[in-house]
């Protein structure tokens, strides 16, 4: 299992990153061909061009930007003995790869946020750590997973550090698209574009990695529209599938105003339930892990050693903030599902040959398609997208979804 296996359908990106990891080794003087000094000097010049100190990973949500960044970080820390024999950096087994992937490597710092923005305070600390030399003598990697959430002030604090970090510091920034990064940040990074992974590739990885039945994998991959994490969840969790089906019933229900409002309510509820379930799974495990690490007596309500309350409190706060964001994300996800339904409707109306995202609901899709005209469908898609924008601007979720449901009816 190499670290690149989890990157689905991104062969080009993987190729580029492997090349970079190789030249990174040359920079460290580990090429294994350093016998002739003149030769290795020339090699260093030609080889080091594949590596640079700042990268911007972009791609649609779910395409694996953070996964790619972590895999790259692991390959930079890889110490596999196979490398001397020409193996691919990023074996996935050596201590470097392993600790980088699970997030405990000393030189891989991963910054992610559970709230809506990353502020100046957090980035000031990053500026300091960026100027440190690596503890392990290889590379210090700073992964900024939500660089689209940097506030403008925070991004400006980082400019200098990203432009000229310490010689062995590498920045890996992730953002959905280049436009999400400030132009001044963008121009300081090498750009890597991940594509939406093809449905077949997502299905394949679900079968291979998670041991899911091919039929279910195909359904989940199609329904998730290239979002790998979402596909995995749909395939593994019957509840998530049910809630999705519930969401997709909305277009059939919007016959009258009462039904619109009821439909909107159930959509918001489903998102909340989804978020709650995700939160419960992650929170309990996290809390237990931290308690054990801080040395709490086993079991709920066990005594905590002195001076650890702060750390626990911080975790709780973070979990609370994350719950808010997860709920918002789930609702957004539901809206994307909804727009995929209307996309299918449009496809049927135009008689397009492509595969439907919601093949299993062909009947419903065809019914809606028969009842309306393409113009109306487009208007409805607009309404769904407008609802997403409204949510982004902090409109009360129920209100926004109700407005959308009413618009779906009127169209």
């Amino acid at each position: 299992m190499s670290v690149w296996d989890d990157l689905v359908g991104q062969e080009q990106v993987v190729e580029q990153l492997v090349a970079a990891a190789r030249s990174a080794r040359v920079v460290l003087g580990e090429s294994g061909r350093s016998g002739d000094s003149r030769n290795s000097g020339a090699e260093e010049q030609s080889g080091s061009s594949g590596m640079t100190h700042a990268w911007l990973f972009t791609g649609p949500p779910g395409s694996g930007m953070a996964t790619a960044a972590r895999a790259f970080a692991a390959s930079l820390q890889c110490t596999s003995p196979d490398l001397e024999l020409g193996g691919i950096p990023g074996c996935g087994f050596c201590e470097g790869c392993h600790t980088a992937l699970i997030g405990s490597h000393a030189d891989v710092e991963s910054v992610r946020t559970d709230v809506l923005s990353i502020g100046v305070k957090e980035t000031r600390e990053l500026v300091r750590s960026a100027s440190m030399s690596p503890a392990g003598g290889r590379w210090q990697v700073i992964i900024l997973e939500d660089s689209d959430r940097l506030t403008e002030g925070a991004a400006n604090v980082l400019l200098k550090a990203i432009e000229e970090p310490a010689p062995r510091t590498v920045w890996l920034l992730c953002a959905p698209s280049v436009e999400d990064a400030l132009p001044t940040i963008r121009s300081r990074c090498r750009l890597l574009v991940l594509r939406t992974p093809p449905v077949a590739a997502v299905a394949d990885v679900l079968v291979r990695r998670d041991g899911i039945e091919p039929e279910m994998a195909a359904f989940a991959a199609r329904a998730a529209q290239g979002h790998i994490g979402r596909a995995r969840r749909l395939a593994l969790d019957a509840g998530a599938r049910e809630r999705r089906a519930e969401v997709l019933k909305l277009p059939l229900r919007v016959a009258d105003l009462g039904a619109c409002l009821a439909g909107a309510q159930s959509l918001v509820d489903a998102a909340a339930a989804d978020a709650k379930q995700v939160a419960e799974e992650v929170d309990t495990r996290e809390t237990e892990e931290l308690r054990a690490a801080l040395g709490a007596a086993a079991g709920v309500g066990g005594r905590m050693p002195r001076g650890t309350a702060g750390a626990m409190k911080e975790l709780e706060d973070r979990q609370k903030r994350r719950a808010t964001r997860t709920q918002r994300d789930s609702l957004d996800r539901a809206l994307i599902d909804l727009s995929s339904f209307y996309r299918d409707v449009l496809a049927v109306q135009f008689g397009a040959a492509g595969e439907l995202s919601n093949e299993e609901m062909r009947q419903a899709v065809e019914r809606v398609a028969g009842e309306s005209r393409p113009e109306a469908t487009l208007r409805r898609i607009e309404a769904v997208l407008a609802c997403r924008t409204a949510l982004e601007r902090n409109v009360a979720p129920l209100l926004a979804v109700e407005a959308m449901a009413v618009a779906l009816r009127a169209g």
Partner: protein, 376 residues
């Protein structure tokens, strides 16, 4: 794993190693303390990604092994154990601590998730522990605290033969201290930029030892680490990267006037007068033959003046300083008499210490301080 160790030895070792554990671990395993027992030796290590601490003690090892347990819990337990030999052993995924009639069972953390501790660089020389701690404290006081200027949050360590120079600045003052040390090899030359706060903590925690070994990779391609070792305890610290300001030329060598003031009286006076100096306003010093007048506050605000006996050689001078920076410097010179040397009232002044009014100024420690320009 199974070993026996004296309670005091264990408690002291655990307390020291647990010191460097992060209060808010970024990943849970970092809250752990790594215990490794092998061939009559027990080692405990902690790591917070920046500083690693490792302490080794004698132990009666029955069965070698490695285990990761919560550092805080172990520190709490070992501190409160009765004074009897302690036996620590593993039982599956648990650790059993037995001491006298008390018995603790602790959960372990996954060792394979624990990051590799940085390698200690090769030792390059030794200094007396106490002298080193004092020297570091003198310099670290001038280091900057602004994280967005990381270079200035460090203490520059320059090694040239048998001389070590420590230097730090926050752009408003500059402290430099020279001390002698015993290098392992002749003609050694190396530089490093060590985070000031860590260096201060480390030097203080190793000051009890007779000698502290400093391990620093030679100039050129460094390992990015500096290591300190004393009395079985060793720590490594990641270095800061970046260009430290060139400082030797900053220090003036020719002066128009030189004043000497008894330090305790000077400190007291500055403290009193600066009570009325609001944030960011200076204290003004006027030196004349035999007397120094301190003033603070202006206009309609509260004002204070005080006169202190002082000797002046050369021209009379009026100059103003940030009182906090002046007090830091007066505390750092650690001498009975303070000597201030001036060129003009807009150029930095040099503060150094003397153990008696007629003695030569101490050349080893110099504190350069920028004056505040007075309007009008």
């Amino acid at each position: 794993m199974k070993f026996r160790v004296e309670r005091d030895v264990l408690a002291e070792a655990v307390a020291w190693a647990a010191r460097s554990l992060p209060a808010r671990p970024p990943v849970p395993v970092l809250a752990g303390l790594l215990l490794a027992a092998d061939e009559g030796k027990l080692s405990l290590s902690g790591f917070d990604y920046e500083v690693s601490a490792r302490v080794e003690t004698e132990a009666d090892v029955e069965e070698p092994g490695t285990v990761l347990v919560s550092g805080r819990l172990l520190a709490d337990i070992s501190r409160s154990l009765p004074n009897r030999p302690v036996e620590i052993s593993t039982d599956g995924v648990r650790v059993i601590v037995v001491c006298g009639s008390s018995r603790f069972t602790l959960p372990t953390l996954p060792v394979d998730e624990y990051p590799a501790l940085p390698q200690m660089p090769t030792v390059s020389g030794t200094v007396p522990g106490e002298a080193f701690a004092a020297a570091v404290a003198q310099v670290a006081t001038a280091a900057g605290r602004d994280d967005t200027l990381p270079v200035l949050t460090g203490v520059r360590v320059e090694i040239e033969g048998d001389r070590v120079t420590l230097a730090a600045t926050d752009r408003y003052r500059f402290a430099v201290r020279d001390l002698m040390w015993k290098p392992e090899q002749e003609g050694l030359s190396a530089v490093a930029l060590v985070p000031a706060k860590t260096l201060l903590d480390t030097a203080k925690s190793l000051s009890a030892g007779d000698v502290v070994s400093i391990a620093l990779a030679g100039s050129g391609k460094g390992e990015g680490l500096i290591g300190f070792e004393g009395a079985g305890r060793r720590t490594t610290t990641r270095l800061l990267e970046g260009e430290f300001p060139k400082f030797r030329a900053l220090f003036p060598t020719e002066f128009n006037s030189v004043a000497t003031v008894p330090t305790p009286a000077f400190v007291e006076a500055v403290k009193r007068v600066s009570l009325v100096a609001e944030r960011n306003t200076p204290v003004r010093l006027s030196f004349e033959q035999g007397v120094l007048t301190l003033e603070a506050g202006s206009g309609d605000d509260a004002q204070a003046t005080e006169r202190v006996e002082a000797d002046l050689e050369g021209d009379d001078i009026s100059i103003a300083f940030n009182p906090a920076y002046l007090l830091d410097g007066l505390a750092a010179i650690d001498a009975a008499v303070a000597q201030l040397s001036f060129t003009t009232s807009t150029k930095p002044a040099l503060l150094s210490g003397k153990h008696a009014p007629d003695a030569e100024a101490d050349e080893a420690y110099k504190y350069l301080i920028m004056p505040v320009r007075l309007s009008g």
